[in-house]
């Protein structure tokens, strides 16, 4: 079996004002990236990109996005990303830069990387906390970054519901 091989780019949207991050949307990113590629590589580049270009995941709270493109042409996308300077959503222009964290062959590897990366960030945050409440909060967040057994129970329920159908 032969499949289309893709590359997934795990990126982080860096904005000055954190709140403007909440404007983040799949469509916004899609259009912005397309425009950036067209600007950097012309029609040829954008046409190659469009083949299997998709925004797979967007998190408006953390600014993490996951972009898919063909494995053969991911460099076109990759090289265009640094030239993005703003995102536009509903008439609002948000100046930003896009920081590519990881390039993976599957979503899974990207997810794994993201887990590692986020935990690391949280760990780094912990010593810089100023107030006690803050420290507490962050500690709790760090602790919650693991899966417990309860996941299995939940899953089992789901599976049973499944079989009943």
């Amino acid at each position: 079996m032969v499949r289309f091989k893709s590359r997934y780019l795990l990126c982080e949207v860096c904005v000055e004002d954190r709140s403007s991050l909440l404007l983040l949307e799949e469509r916004t990113i899609y259009q912005a990236v397309k425009a950036a590629v067209a600007r950097a590589h012309g029609d040829y580049g954008s046409a190659l990109l469009i083949l299997s270009f998709a925004v797979k995941y967007v998190n408006a709270h953390t600014g993490v996005i996951l972009i898919r493109c063909r494995k053969s042409h991911y460099r076109i996308l990759w090289s265009a990303l640094p030239f993005m300077s703003c995102l536009e959503n509903r008439g609002q222009k948000v100046p930003c830069s896009i920081n590519c964290l990881h390039i993976g062959g599957t979503i899974r590897t990207c997810q794994k990387f993201l887990v590692k990366y986020s935990t690391q960030q949280l760990h780094r945050m912990l010593p810089h906390c100023t107030t006690e409440a803050e420290r507490d909060e962050v500690r709790r967040a760090v602790l919650s970054c693991s899966l417990e057994k309860e996941r299995d129970v939940e899953e089992e329920e789901a599976e049973e519901e499944w079989d009943d159908e």
Partner: protein
């Protein structure tokens, strides 16, 4: 996306994190993000996020679109951390769960899969073991639920041990009676459970033609033991007076026929309910009188009938003979085998084995009741009465069901098979004769007169060797005989019995001529089989196969014949000649044969030797074909006026309907389009009534006399015509006037019947208006008639067509339109939508239990086309038949024709009115009530075919069926005398009419 695919996808994406955005948009990129889920997830996630006092402010609205979410003014590390941790959690969940199939085997890459992983979880990698274990348990439980655990208390070897096997067999024949040859048949035949018996239908090997060849040139064997025998005993006059009420002389010889009454011939009659002739027939039976014993008027009569007939027959006989007093069967005394067990060892002590057997016997005794093979009727409780006595008339009725074995040999060489397989009983030595024994033969042979009779019977039997064909023997002859155990003369391999006429030429020429001309002398018809005591004695003292084999093994010369014949091996039997085709002029006495009547228990002992003489064995299917080739009606298929026949019709309808509905709807024949009203069941009553109406209407102007007579007749049930005189008349009328067949008649010429004229026909119609006539149809050209093919009257145009070109295929029926199609479809659609609604409701309910209630599935969404909205009938269907039916000038159409339009218009309306009824509609079948059956098609229907096939005897398609007498006369009158007796046949699933010649054989 189809349901299954959707489910699969849902399952796969269940653990995948979806985008978290603040505007719930249905936008999809890449085409594979389920948009619905995004918003869902958002809600779920939103709850996790901190609600920071008044930190969330409402954003401004621009361009009319709502800016739904509040944006935080400032950011805290708490918020940051929470968002991160939530994301990490989601990602972790996605990462830890394999996205592939949930089957653990599928989750593994191919190169890691190993055999039998699903059975032994230890073969799996540790991380997958848990899930696999769960799956395994689940599947085990499901399997348990599906089929109950088979109790395998005993090993196969134990189960197959003789005693246990017998117990198992006895258990299995508790519901349906097994014939004695059951095991033999079950190994070679397709078996069915029918009429309370297990019977073979046809052999598993292909032998249709071979069986036909055997019937017509050699010999075919059938086990007819399932036929029921009822014994009547009593004074001759009493019996005859009682039985005469059941029969009528019109239908041929009755119980009192001289030849039959003397016991020389077996007779056959059709029985009616007492004094009801010609209405309410019961069915055909065979009967056999025991020859008179000197100076006694006490007679014995056996009536053999089909099992479906037995209950009716028994109750009628009981009422007639006033035999109300049931004689309770005596609890069986320990029968003579016990005596035999003592007697045998005393008689031949050197043969008694020393070891081995003793142990086994002891073992059986310790078991208590040894398993005993069931002989006779295993389904009847032993306390059920089988004998009824009449206190006034002295008549005793005995139910001898399964008390005797009846084998039928069909074919011209069946007598050769018999003479080869059987040998008359040898006399036993003087020593045995003088000594006291429990066997019947020594005692019987002690009397000189018995031995003289036996020698005479043996002589007659030997004469059969020189007979060329069984046809030469007078029909229905009976020969009593006592024969040796045929197992002793069993050939080493199967041989084909051939007549040896060279040897027989010149020997006993005179005697043989006497036999063929006069039949078996009267006293030779006597047999010890008539005595119950002898029968029981023979049955009880049958030498088991094991003993016989042991005796054979002790012979000095291996393979030589056992001499002298053991004392047990003398069996009384009756040979009954079975006449072949008696009526009609073609193939006279085809299918002739002999019936063997044997005491019960001896079935297999005679069966195997007969089979070893090269006979073919056939089942129910062939017996039907036998009667078809003979042109005789087959019980119960062709007796729709009998109660058993009516029951059979019900069963057949259900069976055919079941077969029809088993096909996918698109592959079913649309019988409506073929203009076939009743493909599965023939509405005889309706046919007859309609023909009476038609005749009345047409006869109104011309013949007032008929009208008066028919008007006086009360409406009655249809009946099949069986009066010999009327049938003879009809058969003469059916023949074209120039036929050469008429001159071929043998014997004294009967007075010629009156020629066909309207007056004669009217007279006949007046007396038998509700009659059906049994007729044979032979196709003139191509075609193979099938079951329930329609018999139709040709129009004048058709006849002209035939005279122009005798080989023409025949006219075509115009295609009918199916007005019910719409209703069937709409009803089905309504049903389907209803079902899907229910399903959706169920699914949503389920979802509600696991997740929060969802408004996605609205139970009322699919209710727009509920069954209540079956569309109304728009137009009355155009009558197909009306245009063509006017082509028959002889039939000025009475108003009967108009119901053709009315019911077809009314029926859909009714269907539309009641949706419940619409559910019962089956595509391609006319719903009840049927419209006029006679005038539904372009040719008038006369009757239907009940048996039809390509006839190997005639070499063309042949059918047997019943036609309305009134209709037949109508057709005959309308045809020119030189071309009389031409009808049309049309199969239910075809539009092609075929010309056929109708013959009534009488």
């Amino acid at each position: 996306m189809s349901g299954a695919k959707h489910r699969m996808r849902n399952k796969k994406m269940r653990d995948q994190p979806t985008s978290v955005t603040y505007s719930a948009s249905g936008w999809r990129n890449g085409g594979d993000t389920p948009a619905g889920r995004a918003s869902d997830f958002h809600h779920a996630k939103g709850q996790d996020l901190p609600q920071q006092g008044g930190g969330w402010v409402r954003g401004h609205q621009s361009g009319g679109s709502v800016y739904p979410k509040e944006l935080p003014k400032y950011i805290t590390s708490t918020y940051f951390a929470r968002a991160r941790s939530a994301e990490v959690k989601a990602m972790l969940k996605a990462v830890n769960k394999t996205t592939g199939s949930c089957h653990t085997a599928g989750a593994l890459p191919k190169h890691m899969r190993r055999r039998a992983m699903s059975h032994n979880t230890k073969r799996l990698p540790t991380r997958l073991r848990e899930g696999a274990q769960r799956m395994l348990e689940k599947s085990l439980q499901a399997a348990k639920k599906e089929k109950k655990e088979e109790s395998k208390a005993k090993s196969r070897k134990a189960r197959r041990r003789h005693g246990n096997l017998l117990l198992e067999f006895n258990r299995r024949q508790r519901k349906n009676i097994w014939l004695e040859t059951h095991i033999w048949h079950a190994k070679r035949f397709h078996m069915v459970k029918k009429w309370g018996y297990c019977l073979g239908v046809r052999p598993t090997l292909k032998c249709y033609r071979a069986c036909y060849r055997a019937m017509s040139s050699h010999c075919l064997l059938q086990d007819l033991s399932y036929y029921c025998c009822v014994e009547l005993q009593g004074p001759e006059e009493q019996l005859l007076s009682a039985l005469s009420r059941l029969t009528s002389k019109d239908t041929g010889p009755t119980f009192a026929a001289v030849q039959c009454l003397s016991g020389r011939r077996q007779g056959s009659v059709v029985l009616y309910r007492p004094d009801q002739y010609p209405a309410q027939p019961l069915g055909p039976v065979l009967f056999l009188w025991r020859p008179r014993s000197e100076g006694s008027t006490h007679r014995q009569l056996w009536i053999w009938g089909h099992p479906t007939l037995k209950q009716d027959l028994l109750s009628e006989l009981q009422a007639l003979c006033q035999c109300s007093e049931a004689v309770m069967p005596v609890p069986e005394p320990v029968p003579s085998p016990a005596v035999e067990a003592v007697a045998v060892p005393t008689k031949d002590p050197p043969q008694k084995p020393v070891t081995g057997r003793k142990r086994k016997r002891a073992e059986q005794d310790s078991d208590g009741q040894p398993a005993k093979k069931i002989l006779g009727d295993g389904t009847r409780s032993p306390t059920c009465p089988v004998t009824w006595k009449s206190p006034t008339t002295g008549i005793v009725i005995n139910d001898l069901t399964m008390e005797m074995v009846r084998y039928r040999l069909i074919g011209p060489l069946s007598h050769t098979v018999l003479t080869e397989a059987l040998s008359p009983a040898t006399d036993c030595e003087e020593a045995a004769k003088s000594g006291q024994s429990c066997f019947w033969w020594p005692e019987y042979s002690n009397q000189e007169q018995n031995m003289a009779l036996h020698r005479e019977q043996a002589d007659v039997f030997q004469l059969l060797k020189g007979v060329y064909s069984s046809t030469e023997i007078p029909a229905g002859s009976v020969l009593g005989l006592t024969v040796d155990d045929p197992r002793i003369t069993l050939p080493r391999r199967r041989v084909r019995a051939q007549p040896d006429l060279q040897q027989a030429i010149g020997v006993d020429e005179e005697k043989r001529r006497a036999l063929t001309l006069q039949g078996v002398p009267e006293h030779c018809c006597q047999s010890a089989l008539w005595d119950r005591s002898v029968r029981d004695n023979v049955t009880d003292n049958k030498l088991p196969e094991k003993e016989l084999n042991r005796m054979r093994s002790e012979l000095l010369v291996p393979g030589s014949q056992l001499t002298p014949t053991p004392l047990q091996g003398r069996v009384p039997m009756l040979l009954v000649h079975q006449p072949g085709k008696q009526l009609g002029q073609e193939m006279p006495s085809w299918g002739v044969g002999w019936d063997l009547l044997l005491p019960k228990g001896w079935g297999m002992a005679f069966w195997v030797p007969l089979v070893y003489r090269g006979v073919r064995v056939a089942g129910l299917q062939m017996s039907q074909k036998h009667s078809q080739h003979k042109g005789a009606p087959h019980f119960p298929h062709d007796y729709p006026d009998c109660p058993a026949g009516a029951r059979f019709q019900d069963e057949q309808q259900a069976e055919l309907m079941d077969k029809f509905t088993r096909r996918p709807p698109a592959k079913r024949t649309n019988y409506i389009k073929h203009g076939c009203l009743a493909p599965f069941r023939c509405p005889w009553q309706q046919l007859v009534e309609e023909w009476v109406e038609i005749v009345k209407e047409t006869g109104k102007g011309s013949d007032s006399r008929t009208e008066v007579e028919t008007a006086g007749a009360p409406p009655s049930r249809f009946s099949v015509l069986r009066s010999r005189k009327v049938l003879k008349q009809l058969s003469a009328w059916c023949r074209p006037s120039s036929s050469r067949g008429q001159r071929l008649q043998r014997g004294p010429q009967p007075p010629p019947p009156p020629p066909l004229s309207p007056a004669a026909a009217a007279a006949l119609r007046a007396s038998h208006g509700q009659g059906l006539a049994w007729a044979r149809f032979s196709l003139l050209a191509k075609g193979r008639p099938e079951l329930h093919a329609m018999v139709c009257a040709p129009t004048e145009e058709d006849l002209r067509l035939l005279s122009r070109d005798p080989q023409c295929a025949g006219p075509q029926e115009p295609r009918h339109t199916d007005h019910f199609r719409k209703h069937v479809k709409s009803a089905r659609k309504a049903r389907k939508s209803k079902r899907s609604d229910e399903k959706a409701e169920g699914a949503s309910a389920e979802k509600a239990t696991t997740k929060k209630p969802d408004a996605a599935s609205d139970p009322s969404s699919g209710s727009a086309d509920q069954p209540g909205s079956v569309p109304e009938v728009t137009s009355t269907p155009a009558s197909v038949s009306d245009g063509d039916s006017s082509a028959i000038p002889a039939l000025a159409w009475p108003p009967v024709a108009t119901p053709d339009q009315d019911p077809s218009a009314a029926a859909p309306a009714a269907a539309a009115a009641a949706p419940a009824e619409a559910e019962r509609l089956v595509l391609g079948l006319w719903p009840e009530p049927l419209p006029s059956v006679t005038s539904h098609c372009s040719r008038v229907t006369l009757g239907w075919v009940t048996q039809g096939d390509f006839s190997l005897t005639a070499g063309c398609g042949e059918a047997l069926g019943l036609v309305s007498l009134a209709g037949l006369l109508h057709v005959l009158l309308g045809q020119p005398p030189e071309r009389r007796g031409i009808v049309l046949l049309r199969n239910p699933s075809s539009l092609q009419y075929r010309f056929a010649k109708v013959t009534i054989e009488a």
